[in-house]
Symmetry: C5
Subunit: 354 residues, 5 copies
Amino acid sequence: MPRFIKKTSQKVGLPPGTLIHVGEKRTDKITISLMDYDEKQFQEKPIEDAEEAFPLKDEPTVTWINISGIPEVDLMEKIGKHFEIHSLTLEDILNTAQRPKMEDFDHYVYLVMKMLCLDKEQDAVHSEQVSLVLGPNFLISFQEQPGDVFDSIRERIRKSKGRIRKTGCDYLTYALMDSLVDKYFVILEHFGEKMEVLEEDLLDNPTREILESIHNMKREMIFLRKRVWPLREVIGSLTRGGSSLVRESTAVYLRDVYDHTIQVIDTIESFRDVLAGMLDIYLSTVSNKMNEVMKVLTIIATIFIPLTFLAGIYGMNFKYMPELEWRWGYFAVWSVMIAIFVMLLFYFRRKKWI
Amino acid sequence: MPRFIKKTSQKVGLPPGTLIHVGEKRTDKITISLMDYDEKQFQEKPIEDAEEAFPLKDEPTVTWINISGIPEVDLMEKIGKHFEIHSLTLEDILNTAQRPKMEDFDHYVYLVMKMLCLDKEQDAVHSEQVSLVLGPNFLISFQEQPGDVFDSIRERIRKSKGRIRKTGCDYLTYALMDSLVDKYFVILEHFGEKMEVLEEDLLDNPTREILESIHNMKREMIFLRKRVWPLREVIGSLTRGGSSLVRESTAVYLRDVYDHTIQVIDTIESFRDVLAGMLDIYLSTVSNKMNEVMKVLTIIATIFIPLTFLAGIYGMNFKYMPELEWRWGYFAVWSVMIAIFVMLLFYFRRKKWI
Amino acid sequence: MPRFIKKTSQKVGLPPGTLIHVGEKRTDKITISLMDYDEKQFQEKPIEDAEEAFPLKDEPTVTWINISGIPEVDLMEKIGKHFEIHSLTLEDILNTAQRPKMEDFDHYVYLVMKMLCLDKEQDAVHSEQVSLVLGPNFLISFQEQPGDVFDSIRERIRKSKGRIRKTGCDYLTYALMDSLVDKYFVILEHFGEKMEVLEEDLLDNPTREILESIHNMKREMIFLRKRVWPLREVIGSLTRGGSSLVRESTAVYLRDVYDHTIQVIDTIESFRDVLAGMLDIYLSTVSNKMNEVMKVLTIIATIFIPLTFLAGIYGMNFKYMPELEWRWGYFAVWSVMIAIFVMLLFYFRRKKWI
Amino acid sequence: MPRFIKKTSQKVGLPPGTLIHVGEKRTDKITISLMDYDEKQFQEKPIEDAEEAFPLKDEPTVTWINISGIPEVDLMEKIGKHFEIHSLTLEDILNTAQRPKMEDFDHYVYLVMKMLCLDKEQDAVHSEQVSLVLGPNFLISFQEQPGDVFDSIRERIRKSKGRIRKTGCDYLTYALMDSLVDKYFVILEHFGEKMEVLEEDLLDNPTREILESIHNMKREMIFLRKRVWPLREVIGSLTRGGSSLVRESTAVYLRDVYDHTIQVIDTIESFRDVLAGMLDIYLSTVSNKMNEVMKVLTIIATIFIPLTFLAGIYGMNFKYMPELEWRWGYFAVWSVMIAIFVMLLFYFRRKKWI
Amino acid sequence: MPRFIKKTSQKVGLPPGTLIHVGEKRTDKITISLMDYDEKQFQEKPIEDAEEAFPLKDEPTVTWINISGIPEVDLMEKIGKHFEIHSLTLEDILNTAQRPKMEDFDHYVYLVMKMLCLDKEQDAVHSEQVSLVLGPNFLISFQEQPGDVFDSIRERIRKSKGRIRKTGCDYLTYALMDSLVDKYFVILEHFGEKMEVLEEDLLDNPTREILESIHNMKREMIFLRKRVWPLREVIGSLTRGGSSLVRESTAVYLRDVYDHTIQVIDTIESFRDVLAGMLDIYLSTVSNKMNEVMKVLTIIATIFIPLTFLAGIYGMNFKYMPELEWRWGYFAVWSVMIAIFVMLLFYFRRKKWI
């Protein structure tokens, strides 16, 4: 599986609006669920065929169609035709290698976001694309895989908790966006905890594995940042009245998501700074260890090399070496050696090497 | 305790406006104090129940309600209802992991700031959130913990020092903001002094502890910067007439706080540059020491290894080694050795190694 | 062949509008092809002389003249005169060292883009300039070399696939731009795959060749970025209504190319970050290996130098050395040596060097 | 004396507008000088009491009051009252830890600038704050210390050189600003010359002192930049008609100072780049020296360690060592040793180590 | 000669508009040449006194006065008076340490540019200031030194090549600017070629000289960038209708120079990136060589130190050493030594050190 880039070359040469799925296919089955509500009434059902929901398009109630899995081309075409969705939008929905973005087509707004899931077993972050098509009184959401991320929102609709049943499609859109951004905090907390563990290990014993972990986290931060950064702009332009489909009262809530996004970006930046600092500590710890090794070598060599030389001298076999005949010669050599040894010890002590 | 990130995942999945406290709970007791004044009259009392202050809302006098500690949810709801505060604001007040920000809701302005306290014993900087809700003639301030940071302002109100009694709520808000920003200078001075001590130590004896101190201060600067940077924007937008609740005459004062904030940011940036320079000096000092160690090793080894070889030669036991029989052979070898020694010394001197 | 800069000095001192070709001449032959179509009719032919196409200029049909190879000066002049193209534009078309840009001359828009081709045999990326002159109902495209990049578009025109026959010149321009930008993804995928291979090699065995590959890829990223970055602005200004020749309905499509360009830039930036990380890993791996080498040296030297000294002592030839006479002297020395050996092993074990 | 930050915490908790002096007090005596002129008349006198100048406020002549030293609080209050200066401005004048800034209070403009003086004996740059209060026909300037920086301007007024007597207060303000910015060039030239000396030393013999000088200069550049950078904005906004007190004809001159400021910033940036380059050269020179040291060690050790081993072999005392009995054994060993020596020399030569 | 900064302090304290020459004086002689033309007529002559050209000021023909060398003060004053040039402009013309800039004085535009000349003998880039004063129908150009850079333009005027005789002063200004910017490409090509040579040398044999060349080129890039960067803004503002003296039809041509300037900046940036990459390669090559040296040392020392120890053992003179008496003791020791040698070789092979 290519890790650094998704295969997008398979579309090269096709006319725009050609509907083919780009990206990894994670599931074959698609499931469609429908919710339709206003303040007073509410219905919910899984549906087989998207067409069942079509008549609700022009009802004043809020209609939320959620499609999990990669839909077939003809389903997309039917939806596109009925809800008057531009062929480029349909194409983008199927291309799961999109960047987060917002496109305003007057009669609907198209939003691309990234859902991040933490796979705790593999210790990896998975990214999934969520596309939202917000119309005057309908919202169609596309997920790559069925999942439970929107369950709490469904619960709030069913039980009419909070303002959700009293407001329109734009508030529902906000609710979905909010739940996606909330997920980012879970990921960041996971990384934060991992970094604390790493940092303690780093001070204890800097191994090569720690270095690799730091680099991996740095890279994850780069990819996370790439996914979150454009979101800021997307939500920002929605907040500043980027579309007539978003009411003033909802903009206040979107401003809240915007703040959360900024906080996510802030945290990512802080994490990057902390990781850079950890890398510096790693490098200087390794270099410190090296120094220590060199010092031991130097001390040992500097002490024993001259002494060995001295012993070598009196190992020579010259016929006339007066010292060898001396009564106390051997002990005199020992004394000289011990004196040299002590002097070198003092020298190293003064240099603060030992 | 997570150091790099506050737990915010506990809110995931809840509808917006749900009032639960996010962050570390530092105290259980909440204390509410009330000040009510205009140029002529003045009353001050600790109150048990916030509702005692409610009737003052519509009086033309300035009403300042200060709440220390994390209020209960139903207290928040009562305040929210009486002062017409948006549920998102109430939620943000309870979430102490906010970023500094300003939100203008026309009939009130919501301000989040960070109060920094220096804990000299633990040599740590604590951050606490202060929320201000500025209405036409009331100001509600929320602190995480009771503290004396606003005491000097209370004193000025009591004694009617300066302009404070002659002006409105916006000036009071300015006074609170000013006292928070003043605190930052205390923190920065503490760091500045610490850096000077560190720098002297660094030049004397660069130890691993100094390296860690430098990295810790770098990180503190990153977190400080993260807290102060958004403040610039917050105060800037208030100054540029961001809200109708801030009068022109107060904007002049806010401009003063704005200048202070810029100065704080400037100082943080300078500190970061100085710390980066200290890191460079540390690294090059360590590398210099290493060089010195290597030089000693090389000098000793380069002198004695050839000499030891020479001694080894005449330690061989060959039957026919003419030199061994020579009368002055031993002394000749010594002369050669001394000559080599002196030549090497000259060589090292010319290379500037000794 | 100069790699870092194209020869452009040959034009120094000539008046503006002087038509001479700047850059490497890749082919001598020029081929001109003509397509003329609207929704109902369609003709296509290779033509010898560009003048054959001149009468079509004022027809309401879309006329697409594609010129491959570097045209002669008098051909350029004829085209310039008939289609009222400014002499600076003609000059720019012949100068293949241009930066991507858009120039709006009211009655036509001049676009310069770079086509990138991957030469898989030489593992190199070639860059070729494509100039587009978009008029009210004609489009003249200039390629440096004949190639098949636009074949799929020709096919779409012939078979009237998609919207292409139903729309005007601006949509054709979009189609050409889109096919060029699509090519960039192919290049990036190639680099992405190469990086993955490199990364695995890096962790296995960091050689000098890998270092050079990393640096080469870094440089390719710099040159790629230089080519793509200005495109963003070019397409951006077309999208924002930079010219009256681009209809609103086409702007939607251009926004799509714009998104792709952003995605290309994003990917290049990510690749640069990843490459920087790989460089860090390379350097720390090399430094780790060095440390290991030093440790081996130190361990061996630290163990055997003192032992050799001890052996040297008892190799001395003093007449009075009591130990030599002892019965178990030799074995005692062996014991001492083994004791020293074991102690040093323990010492190194404790230091975690072995 | 704190070097990295000025004591500003002494003001914490005081109401705004409280007049206390912040910063180092350099002198106790204050001197006030007065100049009053128009095209025809001119008077100049040192005055004891600032009140002597008060009646000139509303005269149409240009009145320049220059106050050196830190004025007493009641003097400031009197001036503030008579010239209608806001209490925040008075406070800022006494706080000499300000950032360069401009504040427009409609009836006067307040300017803070930094005067830099080179203390050639201590080889240090001193910074002093200069505050200017520009009214419709008066200018009050505050210096921390008496100095002669404005003497040339006084001379121009006395002798009516140039346009100065023919123009108003705004031109006088420009003249003062210009003379302050001119001082920066003197400082930069001093640094430029110092850098050239340093650079030559660096290539000759890179010592630790040079490293410290480079780091000191880097830090001075950081602090210089901090002082000059905001000036750009200050003068820029004056030039762009930031105040009605600055006439169009003077704006041309301010544009000139603006250009000078840009040039100062440009030069500081270039100096920083040059210093960074010098640091790189220092580091690679040190690392090169290290390499040379290592090479010498390796050559000596690699040559003599095997030879010493060989000598050791024939120093063994085995009873049955055939070589020892050989007639030419000793000379054979010498030949082998010389052969090894020569081979190793060739090897090192081929590796380009010698 | 100061290299890093031009002497500008000599002007400190002088009133603005004081005409003294700042910078190195390169020539004493000044030469003035005059060209006067419109579409039909043309005259050209070297003139002694600038006053000869004065009557042409108000003629409808284009009058181009080119002054090479540093003019005397009274000549400047005469020109200034006749052509109504502001004293600050006159001052700037004489100050050859200017930054490229444009100043619009309504009745004339003042342009400062830098001409770069490559001195191939000294392998250095010289910078010379060119000032242009563009009036409604005159252009005065000031060069520091006589040179032939404008000769091709004179030739075009004489022979009425291109549009030059058919257009006004603004087009002439464009032509001069274009010829200056064209010169930059020559410089860049020279650097590009030098870099390619350097790069090949770098891979072959990284010497200290190459390091210095890289650093010198980096510095030249910094200074080049400093000279070209402001030009972008200057030409940009002329293009965007910065002055009424520049006609719409000329703006198209200026846009062309603007593109060239961007291309120059782009190339400089690329060169800086390439140089940074070369520095990285240099450093890692040096560090690789160091590693190789260390490996050789370690291999030799690790092999021979234990063997020498073994030889030392049997060189001891103990009376009772059973091995010495053994018949095959000597050969046994040799066998052990060879075994150790082979084992270590295997060990190093496995570690991939040899």
